[in-house]
Structures are given as structure tokens and as C-alpha cells.
């Protein structure tokens, strides 16, 4: 008789919380240990640029409660940076020189914000942790001018939070349209117009040529001159935290390379979330930075570990909430330049969906205030239902009706 294996998650974020819950739901009997380097347990990172940044509240912030952990033999160790995984000796080595037994490991170290070399100081911010968000919130006050470098999801959410809190916001991006690379130009233009109408000062379509942080302000240089802000938030993407993986001898490219099931080059070590370059059955190797993907990859790994081999094969889904607007995207990693773009509804009025079609099948969708159409799009993609552009564009055609026509079970 062998003892139940111990599973250790390296990094105590979204993946860790989901792995722990899913393992217990599936009846995994061994000890589960979560090792994180932050001073606190897993929390909702998306809230750091939304609710938490806006009002500082912590409703819904924490992902695991201590009572649940105690009742389910899940040990959470905060403030415990990991040095490397030693799969040969079945242990995880911590930076403080101690070790933890680990028959199975899930590596989930996430990522860290890219920084501008040489630009730092008290007035320069990046947002990844609770502490980052709490520090920034105090600066988002009336009378202060906040610069945001980068008009992606994070940058646009932070600009929205800044003006909502009564500060001024000036947002810089090389692209002429916000979010267009992620969501296409139709939705991008509509979101850009929303930000402009809410008073965000948009400096788009020009490269930032220099940034100088001084004790009393930050100068941002563009071809059009110099803009001085009180604080600058740098939102130019993340780098995966691959150091532990490299030190553990795992194969690492743009992230830790894993197969469809989330397994790394060492069979007892899995990886998921922002750090994982996943071999997606539909899309090929891709590393994405979405909560839902992190959670679903974690759930698939837990299922495999608990005895039922599983792969993560769903289309990637994400959302962003800014001002009162809800935007969602599905399968966008699959979009290719030749795909047919089909708008539905009134995107300029911030109420509609864009679909991407290829050879009579839906490959992706993005919606503004129409999450219900994303729910149907997911079914259309999963079931590979044949659809025509005219049906998708026609508001008198009910989308869930397209599922019934195909005889799909609704």
C-alpha cells in the first residue's frame, strides 16, 4: 500500500486556488500545499484595476478562506518564495533553504509587469499585486494628473478608475485606437470614444520617446512635446515568471512549455496560468493571460491528477469592465487576417457583438454589453455549427435559435 501523493502548487494565485478546490471536489486524497511569495493568500487579481482600485473594498477579494483550507487539508504558506523544484528527490526547495515534500507539482508563478529601464521612483507604478493597487489608489484623487502608458485592458481600466475617482487621466499609446489589437477596430473605436467622452485625455498614435521621473512629477515625451503628470502607471504587458522553471530544468520558451493536459517536460510537474505556454488542441502553442483560462487549465490538471486524464481545449474567454461597460472576448487567439468580420447590433452605441467567421464556422466573438451573445457563440464554436454571416448580422434572427436549427441540445 502506498501513501497518498502530496501535491504542491508553486505560486499562490488564481491557479493555486482553483487547483486546490478542484482537487478536493474530485476526491484527491493527498495533502495539498500552496507556496506563495506574497504576504497574503490568493485573491482576485482582476479587482486590482477595477472595484478594489475604485473603492478599496474587499468584498469578493479573497479566493480561499482559511476555514475551508483547514477543513480540506490545504496548507497555504505565504511569504515563502520557492527556489526550484527537485523532481528527482520529490521535493520543492524554498529560498530560505528548507524543503517541502512534493510528489506532484503545479508551477503557477504568473508574471510580472514589464518596466521601463531606468524609470522608477515613488511616482512610477505598475499593477500586479494588492500592494501595488492600494498604493496607486491613494494617488487617484481630485487635483492629480495621472499618466497611463499603454492602452490595453489594464491601461484603459486604470484610466477609467482614475477619472471615476475624480483625478485627471492622460493615456499614451502608439496605436491610434484603444484595444483594437485585442478586440478589432469596431469595438476599439467605440471604447476609444467612450474614454474620450468621459474626459480621459487620449494621446494616441504617437510613440513615447522618453520618460523622466523627477521628485515632483514625471515627464512623458512624445513627438508632440512633453506632458508632465503627477504619477505614471506603466501598463506595457507582463513577462512570465520562469526563473523557478529554468532552475528546475524545465523546457521554457515564451513561458513554461506544457502539453494539452498542462504537463511540462518533467512528467510529475504541471504548469498553468500566465506562466504556461500551453499546447492548445485548437490553436497550437499559446500563452495567454486570462483568469478563466488559468482556472480552467488548473481544473483540467486537477482532473488528470485525480485520475481522469483531461486536456484544456476550450476557446479562451476573458472580460474587462471599465466605467459601467462590460466587454467580453471569446476565441480571439484563433482570429486570422483573412477571417470574415461580422458586426451585429450597434457597436458605436456600445451595444453589439463582432463575430469572426471562417469557412462557414464561427471562430471568435467579442461583445460590448452583450454577454448573452458570447454564451451562444461558445456553443456555436464548440459544436462547430454551420452559420452564415447574414444570420449573425440580422438582429431579427435570435442567436440561440441557430443552435436549435442545428439540432444541438438546448
Amino acid at each position: 500500500m502506498t501513501a497518498d501523493p502530496t501535491l504542491v502548487v508553486v505560486g499562490a494565485g488564481h491557479v493555486a486556488a482553483s487547483v486546490a478546490r478542484a482537487l478536493r471536489r474530485r476526491g484527491f486524497a493527498g495533502p495539498v500545499v500552496l507556496l506563495g511569495d506574497e504576504p497574503v493568500g490568493p485573491y482576485q487579481r482582476p479587482m486590482l484595476s477595477k472595484e478594489r482600485l475604485a473603492d478599496g473594498g474587499d468584498a469578493g477579494l479573497w479566493l480561499l478562506d482559511p476555514e475551508w483550507c483547514a477543513a480540506h487539508d490545504v496548507t497555504l504558506r505565504t511569504g515563502s518564495p520557492v527556489e526550484r523544484i527537485s523532481a528527482g528527490t520529490a521535493e520543492v526547495l524554498l529560498a530560505d533553504g528548507t524543503s517541502v515534500p512534493a510528489d506532484l507539482v503545479v508551477l503557477a508563478t504568473g508574471g510580472r509587469p514589464r518596466r521601463l529601464p531606468g524609470v522608477d521612483g515613488d511616482r512610477v507604478h505598475t499593477i500586479r499585486t494588492l500592494a501595488d493597487s492600494d498604493r496607486l489608489r491613494e494617488r487617484l484623487a481630485p487635483g492629480r494628473r495621472i499618466g497611463v502608458l499603454g492602452g490595453g485592458f489594464l491601461g484603459t481600466e486604470i484610466a477609467a478608475a482614475a477619472v471615476t475617482r475624480g483625478a485627471e487621466a492622460v493615456l499614451f499609446d502608439l496605436d491610434p485606437v484603444l484595444l483594437a489589437r485585442a478586440l478589432g477596430s469596431e469595438i476599439g473605436s467605440a471604447v476609444t470614444a467612450l474614454h474620450r467622452s468621459r474626459g480621459v485625455d487620449l494621446r494616441l498614435g504617437r510613440p513615447v520617446t522618453g520618460v523622466h521621473a523627477r521628485p515632483d512629477g514625471v515627464d512623458v515625451l512624445t513627438g508632440a512635446g512633453t506632458e508632465t503628470v503627477d504619477d505614471l502607471v506603466v501598463c506595457i504587458g507582463i513577462e512570465p515568471n520562469t526563473e523557478v522553471a529554468v532552475r528546475s530544468g524545465l523546457v521554457v520558451g515564451n513561458g513554461v512549455e506544457v502539453d494539452a493536459a498542462g504537463r511540462t517536460s518533467i512528467p510529475t510537474v504541471f504548469a498553468a496560468g500566465d506562466v504556461a505556454a500551453h499546447d492548445h488542441p485548437r490553436y497550437g502553442r499559446v500563452r495567454v493571460e486570462h483568469v478563466d483560462v488559468a482556472q480552467q487549465q488548473a481544473a483540467a490538471i486537477a482532473k488528470t491528477v485525480a485520475g481522469t486524464p483531461a486536456a484544456f481545449a476550450d476557446p479562451h474567454w476573458f472580460w474587462t469592465d471599465q466605467f459601467e461597460l462590460n466587454v467580453q472576448g471569446l476565441g480571439l487567439a484563433a482570429v486570422r487576417p483573412g477571417d470574415e468580420v461580422v458586426p451585429r447590433g450597434d457597436l458605436a452605441a456600445l451595444d453589439g457583438t463582432v463575430f469572426w467567421l471562417r469557412e462557414g464556422r464561427l471562430v471568435a466573438a467579442a461583445s460590448v454589453e452583450r454577454g448573452e451573445e458570447i454564451s451562444v457563440a461558445r456553443e456555436l464554436i464548440d459544436l462547430e455549427v454551420a452559420v452564415r454571416a447574414e444570420q449573425l448580422a440580422d438582429e431579427s434572427v435570435e442567436l440561440d435559435g441557430l443552435l436549435e436549427l442545428d439540432g444541438a441540445g438546448v
Partner: protein
Amino acid sequence: MSEWVHVAELKELQRRRKKLVTAGDRPIALFLVDGEVYAIDDTCVHRERSLSKGTLLDGQVICPGHQWRFDPRTGHPEDQEGCLATYAVQVSEDGHVLVDPAPVSPRRETTPEAAAAAPAPNPAAR
């Protein structure tokens, strides 16, 4: 003692299988699943989006806000915290849909903090 409120006609549910109604000042979402009418809170426990705008798939209600999946029979979301209140439904022989606005099972907010902020019917209960 229950107070049935006449909120809709069954035939109004036939096509879209969902409808937003009001009973006792509460927004309630009706769903028609396998010939049965179920009534739950219309306001999502997550971020207050309207569940009657959502999608009914495989007997589950998917919230348009962030795609949480609720069971209209129990009000429970799949893999998430919190719970929507459920309400008793009667369909009369001539197709009137009646709802009792006193919940059969209570609404539970997603966190103890949120619950503390909301008026609790019985603060002593744990």
C-alpha cells in the same frame, strides 16, 4: 402564509423560455425548462447584471455579466460562491403563472462582507 402574485402567462414563456417579472417589488426571472417554470432572483449575486437577459442552455442559466452558470432549480452557481433566491411557482390550468414573492430558499451574497452590508433577515442565524 403565501401570497401568490399573478406575474405572467405561460404562453409568454413559450418562445424565449425566459421573462423578467416583478412580484412584491422584487425583480424575478422566470425560466421554462422541460415544461416546468422556475423563478429566481433576476439580479446576479456577482455584479448585479440581469439574469433574464442571460442565456438558457442545457437547463442552466448563463449570466451575461461574467458567464457564471446558475441552476434555476436551486439558484446555485457552478463553482462559485453565493446563491440566488428561488421562488415557488404555480401554473394554473388556464396558463396563468403565479409566483410567491417570499423566497423558498434565500439569497446568499458571494462573501460574508457583502452579506453584512445587506440587510439580514435574521442576524442571529449562522
